[in-house]
Symmetry: C2
């Protein structure tokens, strides 16, 4: 049986999972691919460090060039994360004639054009199932299985940290800060969670999904992005009262006005599959013109789920499918026309609004008038009686759910409302996904 030597760059969480799985499922890979895969090299910072995974037969080195220059190596798995030195090593590996498997979403989102141009130049394959949704095969679904469809929309929960925090806030009534600490204690959030909670990680993944589903080469910076770090528990509670959960969604919608891309905490109707995604799980809803709505769910991160995707990719590469897919998909093509992105002015949605107002006669009328002047009609209102004990003229919350409205009009209305002297705090506005 033909043997294929594999070199792995990095032996952290994902790398260790891959090494473990390769140790376990060599026979399975042989059956499925007709080839023996040997993990020959692993590039690490400290070869002497003790590790939990069985690395018999694997040569640990610090110098990645040993791997890239080894003519026996057919596939390089990049499991370092980050851009430097991952990007230059991937480019070198491709130039040296190796196929590359990576789960590095930030790298693909930011440097996709360069990486895929290099792969084309040297006729190599890049497989990256692990980059979005961990073990959920969403890359394969969008790139291959649903290829007969024009995707019309995507709505995705692709950051397990955020989903864990939002689930804990919703189910246990924790504030954001307490829920974040719990996530950190359980290993679902990093010590510095910024890239997760500010929506950057979700935006990276959306950039990759947008390329696959719409052929849209967008930079992460082009994606309107809001995180969960300023989300207040009160809004999760009012949303629940209205029958909604709040999820950090990556949203992509194709319409006559172009492609709308955004990352934002969004209200999702309870009982729909997306709303029921709990804890660190991920899920992606894809609507295609032929298939209708589909939904993919699973563990979006973690050692073994991501390793499942990486080793699945490795099999795909070894069988020779990945090369055909890479060629057929022609991702991040050179000289691609800039995608026509919808401007916020054109986007329509229902909106959840929360105002902090003085508890005085006429205030609701003033707000309703400002909304009405911008053609925004009100679907429902929550204002609870503050009780007789509340000090007179103390600020009270007023929650309004609108019917479908144009975002530009809403922004203008909110600016006017926030200038009213009966309004005591900046208004809160969240989109609603049906």
């Amino acid at each position: 049986m033909e043997r294929i030597a594999v070199g792995m760059l990095g032996l952290g969480n994902v790398g260790s999972g891959v090494a473990h799985l390769l140790g376990q499922c060599g026979d399975r890979i042989a059956v499925r691919s007709g080839k023996r895969v040997d993990l020959k090299w692993a590039v690490v910072r400290d070869p002497a460090k003790s590790r939990d995974v069985d690395l018999a037969g694997v040569r640990l080195v610090t110098d990645a060039r040993r791997v890239i220059e080894d003519p026996e190596v057919g596939v390089v798995i990049e499991a370092m994360g980050g851009t430097d030195p991952a990007l230059s090593l991937i480019l070198e590996a491709l130039a040296a004639g190796k196929d590359v498997v990576t789960a590095n979403k930030a790298l693909l989102a930011e440097h996709g054009p360069q990486v895929f141009a290099q792969a084309r130049k040297y006729g190599r394959a890049i497989a990256f199932e692990g980059s979005v949704g961990g073990g959920i095969p969403i890359i394969q679904a969008l790139g291959v299985s649903l290829a007969a469809n024009q995707v019309q929309s995507l709505a995705a929960i692709v950051n397990g940290t955020c989903n864990f925090i939002l689930s804990a806030m919703t189910q246990d009534g924790l504030t954001y800060d307490v829920a974040l600490r719990q996530a950190q204690e359980l290993g679902y959030a990093e010590a510095d969670p910024t890239l997760d909670v500010d929506g950057s990680d979700t935006a990276h993944k959306l950039a990759i999904l947008a390329q696959l589903a719409f052929g849209a080469s967008v930079k992460t910076a082009q994606i309107a992005r809001e995180g969960i770090d300023r989300l207040q528990l009160a809004d999760l509670k009012y949303a629940a009262e209205l029958g909604y959960a709040i999820k950090l969604l990556a949203l992509a919608k194709l319409s006559d006005s172009g492609l709308e891309l955004r990352v934002a905490p969004t209200l999702v109707k309870k009982g729909t599959p997306l709303a029921e995604v709990r804890g660190p799980y991920n899920a992606i809803r894809v609507v295609g013109d032929a298939v209708g709505d589909t939904f993919f769910y699973g563990r979006g991160a973690g050692m073994m789920p991501t390793a499942s995707a990486v080793v699945g990719d490795l099999i795909d590469v070894v069988v020779g499918r990945a090369a055909l897919t890479s060629r057929a998909l022609n991702l991040w093509p050179e000289a691609a026309p800039a995608p026509r992105l919808s401007s916020a002015a054109q986007v329509r949605s229902r909106y959840y609004l929360r105002f902090t107002i003085a508890d005085r006669p006429g205030v609701l009328a003033a707000l309703a008038q400002a909304l009405g002047a911008h053609a925004i009609s009100i679907a429902s209102v929550i204002q609870h009686d503050p009780g007789d004990d509340a000090p007179a003229d103390s600020p009270v919350p007023l929650v309004i759910m609108t019917h479908s409205a144009v975002e530009a009009e809403l922004t203008a209305a909110l600016a006017e409302i926030d200038r009213l002297d009966v309004v005591r705090a900046p208004s809160i506005c969240l989109g609603v996904e049906e």
Copy 2:
């Protein structure tokens, strides 16, 4: 650009959907595959019949051999359904050097070994994403994306007719007969719904899934099968009271005692993804040793969702991936060892039991004793007060949910219980899926 001629056998619901999609998405296929796909032939019973779909450029013929003997044709799409003449035409098409795309689950479940042996003999590809779960890419997921995993269990709702009927019974309190009529009126059930409601269709799909996930070549007849046609509304109501929905599940579980395969109406905890699958939708939960639990959801049948899968397969064939997958997967290999199937005696589950008993002192004790004698312990009981107006000694329902029990023990206990003179009707027993 290279052109590939396609011949289609059958132009019913799925065939028309495929013709429509091919007419619409020719450019998309060209972009994704680098080739032009022309639907050259469609084999129909009556070429003169008027049809809703644009068939410009398609030659309608009654004789399938015209298609199979056309050297220009590279791919044959079988969209006739049934076994005769679909089986012999597929075998002839493969022998004539054509790749084959089919969504014919009954044919694959019953004649998989013959079809795949023929494909191997002539070095051709067979693609069959549409055979299970309509537009949901579960074949690709099990065959390719999750290939690094040993699948541990599958639980699938793969018959939209049954799921529609069960949803209507649950949500609207309809009896089975009324819900079936509603399904027929809405086009979700055939005039003769037998193969759907008796679980045969689900068993066919499970046979295919078992081959993909476990390499188990099982005949449909080897799969323990129960349909929904004898399900009573009362059991859906008691299940709901206990916090469960009832779904017709295809179940496959790997354990030390072998592979358990069964099709049965099963209690599924509300709030879990499977329980929330409504109407004609399908869903498949796959648990893999590396990936953990994953869940795939979408429209499981219908013209365009199935066409989405068939045209996706066609692209896969044209790109050349399907040939590699067919070879690598080596499905239904000749001389495959018989799978080690678990016998019911070894299967463990929680069970939902409903007894119809005389409303007399000591009856619950007699039942509990019979269960206890077989090491079956009771998790919860529902017995509602029949009210003072009920005639003395009239039969009343008693519902018991057990803890995990061995099926053989349960069967023995139920046989004893059904012989008690206080028991007025055969007991009802349904499994519970956690």
